[in-house]
């Protein structure tokens, strides 16, 4: 029996470096830990990584060197002119990995291509008629186009495709018939036709994951998440874990409700569904809707309070950020002690969250 100290070393980590991301490499827990940390805070030093993970300087050094050579992280310029030795900050390399995210909503399908830090590199909105039949070439074409938007030599850095699908009963009722069956087949279909691994998640959970990963909730460990879509949805996030309930409940105080109010006043609501920077003022209709929406949010928070001390609330939506900010301000005034933050993934929070799925399954710790 040879002394195992002098057995041949395992060259795996280095040997598969040049192969891009498509080779399914199993990442060590520690590598995932470092990547997760870098996703939360950019520009941290190896010393800080060691302090926050409990890993030794040598272990951090090995991991950082390996991830750097794979192009997943990048070293910054040494910071000088302070007390003590200069520090070299490390960040995720935005170009290190890419992902396609798709959300299937009740009116439209959105397809985004995001980089490793969640910046949208390409964005396509398909009206629902295009996606009614998932074999419809337009749907696949939109995904293929998102991939084609990336230069050819970067295709090996695509980590996968994330699919955010509605699971909420009321939401499903809004979608065209046989939606559930159609959605069930989507994963396999996209995987087969596009050729990248596909990860599927409930759309509201995906949106919460998006805000946690790339958005305003990066630094929050516990918060109540609201998604303002056609209806109002919520998720509870505790210790960075999003509780994904099977008994999804939504409330009819969403944008669909606002649309009804606007129609009732005899105006056209068409601008609501366009992904534009701002809404015009909808006057009394909007005031009435906002009141209802706030009441529902307040009652959700109040119902939760005996069980969980809710201090932070995140409101995510594709509605203009100014609208979300105004709602957050109202909520904070109505409920002292609550900090309400408007999500900052302005376009397609669900699709961006979906795009985060391949990253979290391949690179991050749960």
């Amino acid at each position: 029996m040879p002394d195992m100290r002098f057995a041949p070393p395992n060259p795996l980590r280095i040997a598969d470096r040049a192969s891009g991301l498509n080779a399914v490499s199993v990442r060590s827990y520690n590598e995932r830990l470092v990547l997760s940390l870098l996703l939360q805070s950019k520009d941290i030093t190896r010393l800080e990584i060691g302090e926050r993970t409990g890993l030794s300087a040598q272990t951090v050094s090995v991991i950082v060197r390996s991830l750097e050579q794979e192009g997943l992280i990048a070293k910054g310029e040494a910071q000088r002119g302070r007390v003590g030795p200069p520090t070299v900050p490390i960040s995720l390399n935005p170009e290190g990995a890419y992902s396609v995210g798709i959300s299937v909503g009740h009116r439209q399908v959105e397809v985004v291509l995001v980089d490793f830090v969640g910046s949208i590199r390409s964005h396509t909105v398909l009206p629902f008629s295009a996606a009614q039949d998932t074999n419809h070439p337009q749907f696949m074409t939109a995904i293929a186009k998102a991939i084609a938007d990336l230069p050819r030599h970067l295709h090996s850095r695509i980590a996968g495709i994330g699919l955010a699908l509605p699971g909420d009963e009321a939401e499903l009722e809004l979608t065209p018939k046989a939606a559930r069956e159609r959605f069930d087949a989507l994963q396999e279909e996209v995987e087969r036709e596009i050729g990248y691994p596909v990860y599927v998640q409930n759309d509201i959970t995906a949106a919460a994951g998006g805000e946690s990963m790339f958005g305003v909730a990066k630094h929050l460990s516990d918060y109540l998440f609201f998604y303002l879509g056609a209806r109002l949805h919520s998720r509870l996030v505790l210790n960075h874990q999003i509780y994904n309930t099977t008994a999804a409940v939504s409330f009819d105080v969403g944008i669909l409700r606002l649309e009804q109010e606007i129609r009732k006043n005899g105006n056209s609501p068409s601008e609501l569904w366009e992904r534009r920077a701002d809404w015009p003022s909808f006057g009394d209709a909007e005031i009435a809707w906002q009141r209802e929406l706030l009441e529902q949010m307040k009652s959700s928070i109040a119902a939760l309070k005996p069980f969980v001390p809710v201090a932070s609330v995140v409101l995510s939506s594709y509605a203009p950020q100014a609208v979300c900010k105004a709602i957050c301000r109202e909520l904070e005034q109505a409920m002292p002690g609550i900090s309400a933050i408007a999500g900052n993934i302005e376009r397609s929070p669900k699709a961006v969250g979906a795009a985060g799925l391949p990253f979290s399954s391949r690179f991050m710790v749960e």
Binding site: P8, I14, R46, L47, A57, S61, V62, P85
Partner: protein, 216 residues
Amino acid sequence: MRSVLCYGDSNTHGQVPGGTPLDRYGPAERWPGVMARELGVGWHVIEEGLSGRTTVRDDPIEGAHKNGRTYLRPCLQSHAVLDLVIIMLGTNDLKARFNQPASEVAMAMGCLVYEIKELKPGPGGSVPEIMIVSPPPMLDDIKEWRSIFAGAPEKSRQLALEFEIIADSLEVHFFDAGSVVTCDPLDGFHINGQAHVSLGRALAREVEAIGWPDER
């Protein structure tokens, strides 16, 4: 005050390319000296270079004292407490008399790492930080050293990868000197004064990047 031991061969000793072991760059010109200047106050840099030093082999011609393994323990104990040990060896192992592939030289580097880990010359009896440095690859033209180093230039180009594999599997720091310097054409395997400056600076940056908490 932190202490770093630079354990190496003629290229740590500062031997002038094309010269003899007695032709040597001055203390401030050799890479450990350059590194000391770059690191500044707060660092004590110990230079320990010997021409002809191997990793773990008694040299049948130059003598058993060229064996880096047998001298490592007394050296570590002499200079303890050490915060960091930098080892740059390997070129002499490629002499034809040893008939070793690059992977075996890397295994031998691993031996030295184990020795340090066992001896624990770090603060409070801990394992110090350890950095393996792969030497710059030899040039193809090694002048009158052709027969002594028969086949070595090709193997020397494989050292960086083999050393990095060992460094990764043993979880120690690694730096490829070949990424910042090349050997001097005068003999094809020694580095010149300019290269000492570049290497000393680069290693200082590597040492800093390890990340050192404030000393109590």
